[in-house]
């Protein structure tokens, strides 16, 4: 185990673990979470797992299926595939999508290390060298310079810090590309505009598009299932419709008002595309939308055609091909339904993938107007069509800013205007807005749970955010006072659910997490019983 990890260590010592995560070295949390001995331990790999799995990075495994070569011939094959992928990343044909940002980030980093202190993972880890945003990027940069650029091998020998390319380097790089939330806070800090998050994503892309390596939750059970079956949840169209119909009936009973969700309404003004995971994990969210849209008299619909009832697009985390396929399908469905606009659900990466990144994939009549749920809800709340009583939300509320909506799209204020109006005890975290910290589930990490990855994403990736949440409510630590973290993004909510459960934050501090639409419905005058059921989150 290396305490002073060097860049050149990365390709050495084969199966040996490069660094270790111990809870003692992580940044301390505020009370009552400051006693390490009272927290669940970090799940360590068993001897059997260490034997079977590739675990040569930090003792964490995000992808159990990562292959181990049987002989030198097979190792050589992987190295050749990797070099081939590097070349494709630098080619116009295969990577026009991100070639300019990638080349600039490879060639012009001035190594000032300003970005490191922006990274919540690096900070939370107690500044473990491995998690510097620049560590991963510099390895990648040196490999590109050595193996792709003319005269690279000679220059690598003359320069200090020559990195060998072997199976160890490749597998460690693969794992390390999934120790980044792609939140781009480091990019914001960089005076040169170098994008370390993009480099992490390009690495993931190389592994996926050339070697076929990607976390099963993002690929096999992610985009593949999404495109074939309709949703990474595994829900087929009929099941999705049945589930929502069941929820309509259930919530009609609970709320005392008629809840109905329209499907496949041709010519509707709005096609709303939820994350289907909300139907399964946070059913109050889609129902809240149904209540609000109906109460405001909006002409709207959901789509039942594959994959139109699930707005996620995991391609944005790791694969341009899959990103384009999902975005094109969504747009084709909207075109078929002849809707006037598409509204994103409460899903951060859906916003980024569909509203901006895919804006340059959807040409011609596929370029249908796409709007954020934040502006949609703001317009709805302040339209005067629905009566609200903010005193129904008189409990402490704080807002988590999903990186993909706020830092990446600049949608900052609409959600705040709603919360300032409807939640008398709304308070900000520090920092917030475009300076926020990621929840730790960004970059697809929230849905990844192979081997002991959940322990890492809760303990390390989500640590800064959990600290922020506890600090935001520090004036009212009593667990009897119920507190609400508003996270208008499914993946963020899933990560929060993991974090709050791991630390027992509901029991110790009375903290729960939910979406924005639920808070709005909770404040509706026409909803007699509280919509937010504190025991069920």
């Amino acid at each position: 185990m290396k305490s002073n990890l060097k860049l050149t260590d990365f390709s050495k010592a084969g199966d040996t673990q490069l660094t270790e995560i111990t809870i003692d070295e992580l940044i301390p949390l505020p009370p009552p979470y400051d006693k390490v001995e009272e927290l669940p331990g970090f799940k360590q790999l068993t001897e059997d797992q260490r034997e079977r799995l590739v675990c040569n990075l930090d003792g964490v495994v995000s992808y159990a299926a990562l292959p181990k070569p049987q002989d030198t011939e097979e190792e050589r094959k992987y190295v050749e595939q990797f070099v081939s992928g590097l070349k494709k990343l630098l080619s116009r044909e295969n990577n026009w999508t991100f070639l300019q940002p990638l080349l600039l980030s490879i060639d012009y980093c001035v190594q000032c290390q300003t970005c490191n202190d922006a990274c919540p993972i690096y900070l939370a880890s107690g500044k473990n060298e491995l998690y510097r945003p620049t560590y991963r990027s510099e390895i990648f940069r040196r490999l590109v310079n050595k193996y792709v650029k003319p005269g690279g091998k000679l220059r690598a020998k003359l320069n200090r810090g020559n990195i060998e390319l072997n199976w160890t380097t490749i597998t460690r790089l693969y794992e390390l590309s999934y120790r980044c939330n792609l939140c781009r806070r480091c990019t914001q800090f960089c005076p040169m505009g170098i994008d370390n998050a993009l480099i992490a994503r390009e690495l993931r892309k190389l592994f996926s598009q050339e070697l076929g390596w990607a976390p099963k939750e993002l690929h096999e059970k992610g985009t593949i299932l999404h495109l074939e079956v309709g949703s990474p949840t595994g829900m087929k169209p009929d099941v999705a419709k049945d589930n929502v119909q069941f929820l309509d009936e259930d919530f009609t009973e609970v709320t005392g008002i008629e809840v109905s969700t329209p499907w496949d309404k041709e010519g509707a003004d709005v096609l709303l595309i939820h994350s289907a995971g909300d139907i399964v994990s946070f059913p109050e969210s889609p129902i809240a939308f149904s209540i609000l849209c109906n109460a405001a008299g909006i002409s709207w619909t959901l789509a039942s055609e594959i994959p139109g009832y699930d707005g996620v697009n995991y391609g944005v985390f790791y694969d341009d091909i899959q990103l384009a396929r999902v975005a094109v399908r969504h747009a084709q469905i909207a075109k078929k339904l002849k809707v006037k606009k598409i509204v994103m659900g409460e899903c951060g990466h859906q916003h980024k993938a569909f509203m901006t990144v895919a804006d340059r994939v959807l040409t011609g009549d596929l370029n249908i107007p796409r709007e954020s749920v934040m502006t949609f809800l703001e317009n709805l709340v302040f339209s005067g069509k629905i009566k609200f009583d903010p005193s129904k939300n008189d409990f402490p509320v704080t807002l988590h800013d999903p990186c993909n909506i706020v830092r990446n799209l600049g949608i900052v204020e609409p959600q705040r205007r709603i919360l300032r109006y409807l939640c008398p005890q709304f308070r900000e975290m520090t920092p917030h807005g475009v300076d926020n910290y990621c929840c730790g589930g960004g970059g697809g990490l929230s849905v990844m749970s192979d081997v002991n990855f959940t322990d890492w994403k809760v303990n390390v990736a989500g640590r800064m955010k959990f600290k922020q949440v506890v600090d935001a409510f520090s004036d009212q630590p009593d667990p009897e006072i119920k507190k609400y973290v508003c996270a208008p993004c499914l993946n963020c909510k899933l990560q929060f659910r993991n974090i709050l459960e791991y630390y027992g934050a509901r029991e110790k501090s009375g903290i729960i997490c939910g979406g924005l639409a639920e808070l709005i419905v909770n404040a509706m005058v026409d909803i007699k019983a509280p919509f937010i059921q504190w025991g069920e989150y």
Partner: protein, 304 residues
């Protein structure tokens, strides 16, 4: 060095510098349009840039005019370039040295420009009183530039060599670049101290260059400095020190590029989408002939 050699050397260096810088700038600017990858805050977002908001905060943004500020991005970049705002805000410990270093370069460039002006003044035979003032200013610029640049360079060399946060990322070229720049500033300071009237010597040299006077002679300290400066200008465009060009693109063409697709862009995009895809993973389903559009719109089969 005889007169004609100075001409060949100086104009050759300037020619190579301009050619390589132009080539590298065009190479970046001609890269294909990329997928949108903007990052807040975007300073041209009028009324919203204060908190990092964008036009996407508007209800049905496509029906509303986008109000763009031209001034705020310029002020932002001016602060970034001349005050190193980003380093000041996020890496304060590095700021004094890198500020001195960059300011030394800017003042040095200012001094070169002033001496070109002085050379023109000499050719135009402007009144001596005017020329003298201009020479004094150029001389002051030289002194300040060499001092700041020299201090900044030495400080950065030491910091890079000793700071455990920076040292692991240094390469031989990191040190070469700094040493070369250090040589520029130190030789300049030496020439300033030992050349009598430094600014006059510099202005006369430039005058003789631009008038193609064949009998150029330059005394030792200044000639050494000029050789080092010209060698550095020759070296510069081949290194990553031309990040001043890259920075334009990382900000304007990536971080701040929030332009929605328009007709002109669509035409370029259609061309890009018609390119063949050769990624090898099985789920891509490329056969070497399929293009991006074929692959993105193909029906899904067994492609795990």
């Amino acid at each position: 060095m005889s007169g004609i050699v100075w001409h060949i050397f100086a104009f050759g260096v300037i020619g190579v510098f301009l050619f390589v810088v132009t080539y590298r700038t065009l190479a970046i600017s001609r890269l294909p349009v990329h997928l949108r990858w903007e990052l807040a805050p975007i300073p041209h977002e009028k009324g919203k840039n204060r908190y990092g908001g964008s036009y996407l905060e508007e209800y049905e943004w496509w029906n509303r005019p986008q109000h763009k500020s031209r001034i705020v991005p310029m002020v932002y970049m001016a602060k970034e370039i001349f005050l190193l705002r980003g380093i000041w805000e996020h890496n304060r410990a590095l700021w004094p040295l890198t500020f001195a270093f960059h300011m030394g370069i800017y003042v040095f460039i200012g001094m070169l420009f002033l001496n070109v002006v002085n050379a023109v003044f000499i050719i135009a035979e402007v009144p001596l009183s005017v020329l003298n003032v201009s020479l004094v200013i150029a001389s002051a610029f030289a002194l300040v530039g060499y001092l700041l640049g020299g201090l900044g360079t030495i400080g950065l060399l030491l910091k890079r060599a000793l700071d455990r946060n920076l040292r692991p990322f240094n390469t031989i070229s990191t040190y070469c670049n700094l040493l070369f720049l250090g040589a520029v500033f130190i030789s300049g300071g030496y020439a300033w101290l030992h050349s009598g009237d430094f600014a006059s010597g510099m202005s006369l040299f430039i005058k003789r260059l631009i008038t193609f006077y064949a009998g150029i002679t330059v005394a030792f300290p200044l000639s050494l400095h000029l050789v080092i400066v010209l060698s550095f200008i020759l070296y510069l465009p081949f290194t990553d020190m031309i990040h001043f060009i890259a920075k334009y693109f990382t900000y304007h063409a990536i971080r701040w590029d929030d332009a929605p697709q328009d007709k002109k862009m669509e035409k370029e995009l259609r061309g890009l989408l018609a390119q063949p895809v050769t990624w090898s993973a099985s789920h891509v389903q490329s056969d070497g002939n399929k293009n991006w559009t074929d692959i993105a719109t193909a029906e899904m089969g067994d492609e795990k």
